[in-house]
């Protein structure tokens, strides 16, 4: 167990370092984009005076290094700062108050997590079941069809899958709404109904990876002597796979599931825009559009943190699921 603890601490330290690097890269990248917040928010109405005045108010007239470190200083003390849009709004009013980045992101993040959870609820059991069945009936028609179907859905761009689903499930057969604008005060059922199409789209995108990994991991074990033994005992093929092969194949499966769960949080940008889902992805797109650096930074850090944590979790779970790793000699 001590071993596991050490790994966790090591990984967390490395994770923090990764986050730091990510924040620097994003900061530079956003600054390299043409135009800044002042110019973009004013658009055609930008006069040199008003641009200068917004820059002064937001501190955009300072050097990039100064701005980065003042952001980092806040970040270290747990202050994500205030978005440029909110700051600009406050200086217009001459007052203070308004939402911080954290307050702005919280409800959006909750929505994204909801979408990710609904998708995971559908996709993970579906993928694992399909994988097991494909391993069981390997090289049959079922296996081929399942493979071709999932591979084609993962190979198509997300927005394309989204439009196909809209065409069949919203326009031709109005089963689900094409507009997923969930908001506070909706019942769980209503939310679920509105979230269905984006969740299905994401399911189609992530299923293939998990299913194929499940299938491959199980098949690779089927040649091992202990499976041979089980089969000689006369156990049914289904039982061989579920009882004997699956527990030993869990490590790689968990790994790929974790990776895909991370994708459900970070990869939703396009899907959220297509379905007008008010999650963090749409906030991210809106913020990049107006170069609202504090919000962009916060979103990126959340994405990066999701990847790091889920990967860490996958490693820990695969250690725990493997007695040899749990009790190293």
């Amino acid at each position: 167990m001590q071993n596991v603890l050490k790994i966790i601490l090591q990984r967390l330290a490395l994770g923090l370092l990764t986050l730091l690097v990510v924040s620097i890269v994003i900061f530079i990248a956003v600054n390299l984009l043409p135009g800044d917040f002042a110019e973009l928010i004013l658009g055609q109405a930008a006069t040199p005076e008003s641009v200068a005045s917004i820059r002064r108010d937001l501190g955009l007239d300072q050097s990039m290094v100064t701005r980065y470190f003042s952001w980092l200083g806040g970040m270290v003390t747990g202050d994500l700062g205030t978005s440029f849009a909110q700051l600009n709004f406050q200086t217009n009013l001459g007052g203070t108050g308004g939402k911080t980045v954290a307050e702005q992101i919280a409800p959006r993040f909750a929505n994204t997590m909801f979408l990710a959870s609904v998708t995971a609820m559908i996709a993970v059991p579906l993928a694992v079941t399909l994988g097991i069945l494909a391993a069981l009936y390997r090289n049959t028609v079922f296996d081929r069809v399942a493979n071709i179907a999932t591979l084609s859905s993962i190979s198509s761009p997300e927005f394309f899958m989204a439009y196909i689903l809209i065409l069949f499930l919203a326009v031709l057969n109005p089963i689900f709404p094409s507009l997923s604008n969930i908001y506070e005060g909706m019942t769980f059922g209503e939310k679920l109904e509105k979230t269905m199409l984006p969740a299905l789209t994401l399911t189609l995108v992530v299923t293939a990876h998990m299913m194929r990994m499940t299938r491959a991991a199980i098949i690779s074990l089927l040649a091992s002597p202990y499976i041979e033994m089980a089969r000689l005992k006369g156990i049914s093929p289904m039982r061989v796979i579920v009882k004997h092969a699956l527990p030993n194949a869990l490590a790689p499966i968990i790994n790929v599931i974790a990776l895909n769960l991370a994708y459900l949080i970070t990869g939703v940008v396009v899907v959220e825009v297509v379905f007008v889902y008010p999650g963090i992805g749409q906030l991210f797109v809106d913020s990049v559009k107006i170069r609202d650096i504090p919000v962009v930074q916060a979103c990126c850090l959340i994405f990066a943190a999701a990847y790091i944590l889920l990967n860490l979790m996958a490693d820990i779970l695969s250690i725990l699921s493997n007695p040899r790793l749990r009790h190293p000699k």
């Binding site: 109405a45 917004i54 009013l93 326009v171 094409s178 379905f275 913020s287 107006i290």
Partner: protein
């Protein structure tokens, strides 16, 4: 409403109040129901601060539903009173406004002259970023004559002043509570905010016992959903999840037309796609070069291919069909390569090489339009090199800086407003840098017409100005783009739909109803 000219209305402003109360030509008026609209132009940086409003979502939410202005441009283009009941001026410089009595803000505060003064002052101040600053700046004195009467003195006469006050940036907030009103959306409008999530959604319910009476604002509830993505907006309309959408994608318009449950609304207004040339820079400082370019553009082709027919050809003036003094008598500039060659010869040239900067940030299809112009102009000896500029930062780095580029204007309600925004010598957005020495007669007429109260004289002056622009001006205005929107048949809309801005000038919550 017929028979009352704008000028007549101005002189006898008392009629205006009556008009706005009784004159709404609504058919099939049923009170009740809900309007759900999917609108573009929304952003997470949106707020109830009218100084920052620039796109449809907030214009329709604020001026169109929750807040009111002093005056309002009706669907037919005439000016009516909103919070101002009437107004008068003998010299177009000192204006007296009589405010409507018995008006209440959503928080119960009574509306009066102090609110107007404070709401107007919001746009002033050294650091003000308000887009309405140039309008309000002209007011040198604001005098409260009574609780419901106000005198505004301008720095120079302006016969269009009441029109300017209908600008969507100039909304009325409660004095002393402006900060609170901006935070929560407290106005005097027909609808009271229930929830507002910037860049996502706005819900408002009808105020009982409103000063506008029961003939307008017929929905019990309105919900505006932010849908910036074109395809998502079309999908929401097709599947009946929203009752109306703005800005139809022309490429898939046929699909919407084929749907019997909805109808397409199309109005030609003042929205124009333009190509300004910097007239203080060679070779555009030579009027003959500008003329050669004007004759080198195949305008009809641009309307057919860029707007897919949803528009009208322009005649190089920014004054469009939604304006009062739109000059329809001028000869239309036609595509004529021979004339291009002729004017190039006048400039002492046989051919010329020009750079044209374009990006779809200027308008959808701007780069394609530039390429079409490249093809049509080559016949007249003008060789265009199309430079595709990045969309980000286009307005800061290209517009007003590159000598020939793509641009757009949504147009203005009055001639003077448009001219003094983008054509008057010395103003910041004079995007052709048309200066005094190049346009002396135009600038002279501009000042004269602004103070002129006689409609006929004014017409003659504006007609002459449009002629000057057509012949000598530095801005190419090849096309006016229609506002095209879709409405579900369960919603009824009046015969005349406003053409100043999308979605019945953003006032569909006030003017439409459940069929």
């Amino acid at each position: 409403m017929n028979g009352i000219s704008r000028r007549g209305l101005l002189k006898t402003g008392t009629a205006a109040g009556v008009l706005s109360l009784t004159g709404m030509p609504l058919r099939a008026q049923t009170r009740g129901g809900k309007l759900t609209a999917g609108l573009s132009g929304a952003n997470t940086s949106d707020s109830w601060d009218s100084r920052t409003h620039s796109d449809l979502f907030m214009i329709a939410s604020a001026q169109g539903a929750v807040f009111d202005s002093l005056t309002e441009v009706a669907a037919d283009g005439s000016l009516v009173g909103e919070l101002a009941e009437s107004w008068e001026s003998s010299d177009a410089q000192t204006w007296v406004f009589n405010l409507r009595q018995g008006v209440k803000f959503h928080n119960g505060k009574a509306f009066g002259a102090d609110d107007v003064i404070e709401s107007l002052s919001m746009h002033l101040g050294e650091d003000s970023k308000s887009a309405a600053k140039p309008i309000v700046e002209n007011i040198v004195e604001m005098n409260k004559l009574g609780e419901h009467q106000l005198e505004l003195v301008l720095s120079a006469p302006n016969a269009d002043f009441p029109y300017l006050l209908s600008d969507y940036h100039i909304l009325m907030y409660p004095a002393g509570q402006i900060e609170e009103a901006i935070a929560q959306g407290i106005g005097t409008g027909l609808y009271q905010v229930q929830s507002f999530d910037p860049g996502v959604r706005m819900v408002a319910t009808r105020v009982d016992d409103h000063y506008k009476g029961d003939s307008v604002g017929l929905f019990d509830e309105i919900e505006y959903i932010a849908i910036n993505d074109n395809t998502a907006r079309m999908n929401a309309m097709m599947t009946g999840q929203v009752d109306a959408i703005n800005r139809i994608d022309f490429k898939t318009e046929a699909l919407l037309r084929a749907n019997p449950a909805l109808r397409i609304q199309e109005v030609t207004g003042n929205q124009q796609y333009t190509f300004p040339m910097l007239t203080d820079t060679a070779p555009y400082n030579d009027v003959n070069v500008r003329r050669a370019i004007k004759y080198g553009v195949n305008r009809q082709e641009l309307v057919d291919k860029i707007l897919l027919g949803h528009g009208a050809v322009g005649n190089d003036t920014p004054i469009g069909p939604a304006n009062q003094y739109y000059n329809t008598e001028m000869e239309q500039l036609e595509y004529d390569p021979d004339k291009s060659k002729f004017y190039l010869e006048q400039a002492g040239l046989s051919s010329i090489d020009l750079d044209l900067s374009a990006s779809n940030a200027a308008f959808e299809g701007a780069v394609d339009a530039a390429q079409l112009m490249q093809a049509s102009m080559s016949a007249g000896g003008i060789n265009i090199n199309v430079i595709q500029e990045p969309a980000d930062g286009y307005w800061s780095n290209v517009w007003l800086k590159k000598s020939f580029c793509a641009c757009y204007w949504s147009g203005r309600a009055t001639e003077d407003w448009m001219f003094s925004t983008a054509y008057e010598a010395g103003v910041p957005w004079n995007d052709s840098q048309w200066d005094e020495k190049d346009s002396a007669r135009f600038q002279e007429l501009l000042v004269m017409a602004r103070a002129e109260l006689d409609s006929d004289k004014r017409r003659a002056q504006y007609f002459e100005m449009q002629q000057i622009l057509r012949d000598d001006g530095g801005v190419l205005v090849p096309m006016f783009a229609n506002y095209v929107q879709a409405v579900n048949n369960r919603i009824s809309s009046p015969e005349t739909v406003g053409n100043l801005w999308q979605m019945d000038n953003g006032r569909m919550a006030e003017r439409w109803s459940v069929a």
